[in-house]
Amino acid sequence: MAAGIFPLPYSTSPAAASQRGVTVEIGGIPIFLESHDADLRALLEQRYAGFVNLAATPSYQFEIRLEPPTQSSGDDARAFKSGSVWRLERGDFRAEWDVRSRRGWVRQSPNPYSIDSVLRIVHSLVLAEEGGFLVHAASGVRQGRAFVFAGISGAGKTTMARLAPPDAAVLTDEISYIRRSKSGYRAYGTPFAGELARVGVNLSAPLAALYFLEKGPHGRIEPVGPLAAARELLRNILFFAQDPALVKRVFESAVEFVTRVPVARFTFAPDERAWELVG
């Protein structure tokens, strides 16, 4: 596993740190989730099984404290920036994260969903700084190449993940993780599951194509022009903050992406032939 991109100094050894929390590494970015609550630590280890990396040096660190539940998680999560500090909140949690110190805190009830949302926001903000993004999309790896299938709810993300052939690894059925690399882009597995309720496989591969999904009677792939591709991609990128600087970065990332990666509209019949056209 890769070490942290900006390693935080451990005050104790990784082994001792594992007694205080769990390091969850998604997209090659390890985040240490510290909690004094043994039950929550066990919950996190179970929730992020396959993405826990005890040996990784964390890039970021969050201290989680439990509070009695107050409101439901029904609202959309929001993020506001004040100086170097992001404030994240939803009905069921509140959190702050200082990008300078790379440390933060979370106050939440004992459930696995709040920290999931915090991780999505933090990763989306980190990725935005380097030209990547989280996108509402299923993704899979076949023959060493990653394919991303984007679309709104009902477009077919879960169906494509479910129909993946035996020689394909499903990275996610819900939220795809895209990072810039020296030679292009890579897609990473995520534990962020959709209807399949199954975490993705923790691996990555060079991104070969982005498909916008549409169900239809016959399989068909049609190239999408850069402007339409950027417009549709921007609609599917996870976006939590209306920070103007962040909006600009996400826009730049989307535009850069569609000029470098083949983008097509993929109309597919939801049967075992669906993946035959992919590639």
Partner: protein
Amino acid sequence: MSEKYIARSSAVAERELGGEMVIMSAADSTLFSLSEVATLIWQAADGRTPLSEIVERRVCEEFDVPLDTAYRDAEAFVEELSSHGILRVSDQPLADPPAAGAEPAPREAP
């Protein structure tokens, strides 16, 4: 007819894509793709040149279009973009937008 001055907002991201100018409002994430004429006006929106001069000298000289038609279209375009905060419009020349203020200190965890 009172004169209009237009200036590009600093709260936008812009990029040429597939031969078209694409602009995104940082305020509401609205995406616009500009026609050739609209791109000319956008690029000339320096806050100091009156809209009528932009239309007459840039648009009408480059495209074969009557001044009154071009100006009417330009006004509609300006109104659309200004409603999304992408263009600033004034009857006086516009100065550059003020620089962002100092950053507040982070809070302690409760």
